[in-house]
Amino acid sequence: MTFNDRIFGVLMIVLAVAYGWAATQFPEPFGGAEAVGPDTFPKLLAIVLAISSLYLIVRPDPDNAWPWSRTGIELIIAVVVLIFYAMLLQPLGFIISTTLAVGTLCWRMGARPLNAYMTGAVSAVVVYFLFSFALDLALPLGLLSFLEMN
């Protein structure tokens, strides 16, 4: 099967056209046009990307299988965990959100739940203290901010 490269090639040509078209819409820089304006380099890139993507469509490599089955769901879970980690880092604070995120990832990768969340908690606390005391860097405490000294 050679769908991957073909589909990717088509997408990249679409990108190249959109990117190149956007370059023609740039306003003229203050002080008048020069030999090479802000649009020249992007236009070159659009042409190069279009040609190389065309090659992918014409001479595609064999596909690597996509993980459609359960593994695919695990991957989506991992990405969702990462997004939630970023989202909750400030409201929940570093220690709690890290415990949850690292714990969940370890667990989904095959560790026993207890071990997984223990790893998360220990690593969170260690990194937190390393950062706030040794490196003098403030990570958000969030819900645990009542523990804050002074």
Partner: protein, 509 residues
């Protein structure tokens, strides 16, 4: 003898206690990064960059630390090759061929010690080569005009896939994507490009975020997909019994491997993987029937290790003198230079002489530190190797989050990093290499600047780009870099495949 004077100044910088301390820390972390499968050198160095910033290190200290990490990673790669039969990083692939059989015969610690000595010799030769060659090349590069630089950047992209690369067109696609991302933001004439009015994009895409996302996050996803969380069974490490004779036996091999590796490292398109491959094959030829390669010959361990360590120091030559890296990890080191506001290239040797020579001296010192770390203390690394990836990778991911968050304390950057990670996963699935994307991000602004300068000089005549003999030469080599893989690539690849299993680590050396 000007060089010697600079080098002495360099030692003055590198021997300052705090620099020495960070070199040691870097060497330790580097060995660890190299040893752990799933944490390649490019990935490891990338994650440490934001941490170096948040430590508020002086530029030379930061650079010394991360160069030590880089050197250490090359030492560390061999540990998992020998004990697990999985290369810790791609260049350590050839070390599996004889290293693992040695370990199977109960000679794991001899294999580790021999490879450490060979690594040391290889690195030492290459560092001396670097000291001799770099100033010459930097002087030569001073004659480059903008047109030559533009062609040089093209050459860098064209040869990045290496002559063993599978599909050079994919390198071109990857490089274009990287360069396109680099054009996002306000350009130097004040025009907004591809910002879509998003405030966070006005200053462009921070390449550190992109690099960490592309490497660290995509690696996590790959491990999850391969369900390799449990790790592999490890060989037992016996008590070391190594005589001077054993070391003497591998010396000629290590010297040959070191010289070859250095050449492979300096040349564009070769790199550490090819360096270790050539050293190994040559040694097999030279020794012929006298060796028992593939069945645990110590020289089969020494040759590729000397080769890949020499190549990785050699790869610093184009990175430091021309500002053009030839591999993933040197690209990441270039990212560090740019973010420290040091313009890489020939001028660095005059404008930032203390930094450059400090780093070179640190490489020499680092080698001795690494030898010490890697012979008596190898047990520590072996212990850490048994940490299964299912615990390791989430923690590494968390450290990547902390590092990126500590740069600007914004959540937007974290989302961006995750997005790059998912993108990196998709690209790797399609076998589109990530290193050209990163190089595009790094070199994009310089490349465009040089194009503009060249055009300003010629008043808009495109012919200036191939007007000088040097520029034409660079264009020709760039062309060869794209065409040769189709001709010699299949042959070389077949040779390198051999008996070794390929790991899921990103293409980096």
């Amino acid at each position: 003898m000007e060089t010697l004077g600079y080098l002495m100044d360099g030692f003055g910088v590198a021997l300052q206690p705090h620099n020495l301390m960070f070199a040691l820390l870097g060497a330790f972390l580097g060995t660890l990064i190299g040893a752990l499968p799933g944490l390649g050198p490019a990935n490891g160095v990338a994650i440490l960059i934001p941490l170096a910033f948040s430590l508020g290190l002086a530029p030379e200290t930061a650079l010394i630390m991360l160069t030590s990490v880089y050197a250490g990673a090359m030492y560390g790669g061999r540990i998992s090759s020998i004990l697990l039969n999985i290369p810790g990083d791609e260049p350590a692939m050839m070390t599996c061929l004889d290293g693992y059989p040695m370990a199977q015969k109960g000679k794991a610690s001899e294999a580790l010690a021999i490879s450490a000595v060979a690594s040391f010799i290889g690195s030492l030769i290459a560092t001396i080569g670097l000291i001799l060659l770099a100033p010459l090349l930097a002087n030569f590069a001073l004659t480059f005009g903008p047109a030559e630089y533009f062609a040089l950047f093209l050459l860098a992209f064209a040869t990045l896939g290496g002559i063993t690369g599978k599909n050079p067109m994919k390198t071109v696609v990857a490089a274009s994507i990287g360069l396109m991302i680099a054009t996002v933001g306000i350009d130097n004439t004040g025009v907004q490009r591809y910002t879509f009015g998003v405030l966070e994009l006005f200053e462009g895409v921070d390449f550190i975020i992109a690099i960490v996302g592309l490497f660290a996050i995509s690696e996590l996803l790959f491990f999850i997909e391969e369900r390799a969380g449990g790790g592999k069974e490890k060989m037992k490490v016996n008590k070391l019994s190594l005589s001077w004779k054993d070391i003497r036996d591998i010396l000629p091999t290590s010297f040959r491997g070191g010289v070859l590796g250095f050449v492979a490292g300096v040349l564009p398109g070769a790199g550490a993987s090819l360096g270790s491959f050539i050293s190994y094959t040559l040694e097999k030829r030279v020794l012929g029937k006298k060796g028992y390669f593939g069945q645990g010959d110590p020289r089969g361990v020494a040759a590729p290790e000397a080769g890949n360590n020499a190549a990785s120091s050699g790869a610093l030559v184009p990175m430091l003198t021309l500002g053009v890296p030839g591999s993933g990890t040197t690209a990441v080191l270039l990212a560090l230079l740019i973010s420290l506001n040091i313009t890489p290239g020939p001028l660095m040797f005059t404008q930032n002489a203390d930094i450059v020579w400090g780093v070179i001296a640190a490489l020499l010192i680092g080698n001795f530190l690494l030898l010490i770390l890697n012979i008596p203390l190898v047990g520590i690394f072996v212990k850490l190797l048994s940490v299964p990836p299912m615990y390791l990778l989430p923690i590494v991911t968390m450290i990547a989050f902390v590092g990126i968050y500590s740069i600007s304390n914004t959540i937007f950057d974290l989302y961006f990093m995750v997005a790059f990670g998912v993108g990196g996963y998709v690209l790797r699935k399609l076998e589109i290499p990530l290193v050209p994307v990163i190089l595009g991000l790094l070199l994009g602004p310089e490349m465009e600047k040089n194009l503009r300068h060249a055009m300003d000089i010629s008043d808009g005549d495109w012919m200036i780009l191939w007007d000088s003999g040097l520029a034409i030469g660079l264009w020709v080599f760039a062309g060869l870099g794209l065409i040769l893989p189709y001709i010699v690539g299949p042959l070389l690849r077949r040779g390198m495949k051999g008996a070794t299993p390929t790991s899921g680590s990103p293409e980096s050396d």
